[in-house]
Amino acid sequence: MNSLVLSTITRILAPLLLVFSVFILLRGHNDPGGGFIGGLIAAIAFILISKAEGRRQAMVALRVRPLSIAGTGLLMAIVAGFWGLIAKGAFLKGIWPLIVYNADGSKGGLPIGSILLFDLGVFLVVIGGVCGIFFNLEKAVGEDTD
């Protein structure tokens, strides 16, 4: 496709979508959101680029091949599962190494741990998976001739 409107909008929208996807990912722990939706939003950014500038350009923007992203994500999710198994004896159990308990019993510190790692894994699997499927479909259809 060769549309000035789409490519101009994409230049603004794609970075916004990527930032928004990270926001949704991080928000997911206590509110609606999370790795899956965040990953889909990030994938939309790359699909938009591929629609506006062509599949090659989108692959360049991704830098890493989609399936490698998905593989890394899967690895992170499995590691998050084993983290819980090793630390607390239950696979996928949530581990919060940076949470500290104050003297008055309230919680402090950073709520970052195995859950976030798992969600980040899901995020990457979805980006990689969706982009991989989309690029392959587009290649099969043969629309993309640049």
């Binding site: 206590n30 509110d31 899956f36 998976g129 499927i133 392959n136 479909l137 099969a140 259809v141």
Partner: protein, 119 residues
Amino acid sequence: MDILLTLVTGVLVAGASYLMMAGTLVRFLLGLVLISNAVNLIIFVSGRLTYAGPPLIDSASKTVAEGAANSLPQALILTAIVIGFGLFAFTLALSLRAYSQLGTDAADEMREAEPEDRT
């Protein structure tokens, strides 16, 4: 409401069956989308329809508030949708490949794996 949704499920399944038995891959795919939505509705209705608040825990309390919706069917449906999405994407890719490689969209004309002359 239950009865309405049950009827909708029935209509969806009927439509899906009709499409799936039409014998072409694209219709089969559309039927698949319909029938997976029908199944999601079955799970949704199975979880009982009640007037309830969203099953979210606000930061002050430890458990969901009284009268919150049953969140399990939602979790099940979400999982089913995600899996269904993946399978649909694969089936779409496969259909496209089948169409370009076998040159037909009709399941009855695909005789590569099971040729008719077998003597």
